[in-house]
Symmetry: C2
Subunit: 206 residues, 2 copies
């Protein structure tokens, strides 16, 4: 077997492992991921897992990376659904992004939750994970630049973070069915209200 064939095999094993982990998270939530289950899922002995990933935390991080890539694409699509040629349209675009975030979370509930429920032994996230997280804010740059052309880069970044965080909070609490389940339509209304209200002050009076 050539060297690259070995590497390919490893890659295939890794992908099978991530697939299996995703499937189990979707089916039962991240808390019930078991090393032994995964090993049996992909037809490998228990110890073999540690030839594919260094430990369970790394596997969770790889699953998270995939989820964030899909989330990123969803936010991109949300942004692309609106042409932001005026300040008001920029706000509508921000609403679309926020709605895309909510929809993604609702439709990928367990994978999305896994992003936050990971309790890693080592609290320092690898750089690629940090970058993926920070990258999620970038979709708001363009509309915010329309809305606040006078603000510098740092101010816009901070605004983007705060707006994203606010929407995130509403989504988190809204999908926390342990308290009160709010219907999706009401959630979307609330999100739209929040984003519009937050941005209203940026648009110069007509």
């Amino acid at each position: 077997m050539t060297l690259s064939a070995i590497a390919k095999r490893r890659q295939a094993q890794l992908e099978a492992l991530i697939d299996a982990a995703e499937a189990r998270i979707i089916a039962e939530g991240v808390a019930s991921l078991k090393a032994r289950d995964l090993a049996s899922d992909i037809g490998v002995a228990l110890g073999g897992l540690y030839n594919i990933v260094e430990d369970m935390d790394m596997l969770l991080l790889k699953v998270a990376q995939r989820t964030m890539e899909r989330l990123d694409a969803a936010l991109e699509a949300g942004a692309a659904s609106v042409v932001a040629d005026t300040p008001r349209a920029a706000i509508t675009q921000l609403v679309a992004i926020a709605h895309a975030y909510y929809d993604f979370s609702r439709n990928n509930l367990r994978l999305w939750r896994a992003l936050f429920e990971m309790r890693l032994k080592n609290p320092d996230l690898p750089e690629w994970n940090r970058q993926a997280q920070l990258g999620l804010f970038r979709h708001m740059n363009a509309p915010l630049a329309h809305l606040r052309p006078e603000a510098d880069e740092a101010a816009r970044t901070l605004t983007a973070r705060t707006l994203f965080a606010a929407v995130h909070g509403v989504v988190v609490i809204g999908l926390e069915e342990r308290l009160i389940a709010v219907p999706a339509a009401a959630m979307k209304q609330q999100i739209e209200w929040l984003v519009r209200a937050a941005c209203e002050g940026f648009v110069s009076p007509a």
Copy 2:
């Protein structure tokens, strides 16, 4: 020993146990709470823990209850620091409540995090815990009633939830030092901007 003396002893043990758990959470975070450590902290055999609480989850819930009581008091104090006799003052009061939430979270970081990082085996929260969580929203009722006297109870409750959730999200992301640490002053500014912007639309134009 009389019956009430026995009950008192149990109560004292329970309080010592909760104290010990709090201290360990403050010192090392909720993830490193160990049954054996706690048993030794309060001078009881390992198995003795299960005469005091039914399991670790229940202990965590009791710690959470205490934390929520203190948070509730902090929000109350924040609200009381402003007299809301006008709509504008009502907004200022909401800002004070939001700032109180941020300050509490920052000053009780690990206990506050423990509220969300608890991963209970049984996902159904006991009723007293649900009530404590829902009760946190009540501080916003009075100022929101000032701002939206026309809205009915349900609408106000939903607004309160959304506003609280938005602030919560900003605080969560802001205190997540795994990404970028935002200075406290900037955080407070962002929170104030968010709350004021969200409420601006409610106050009738002068």
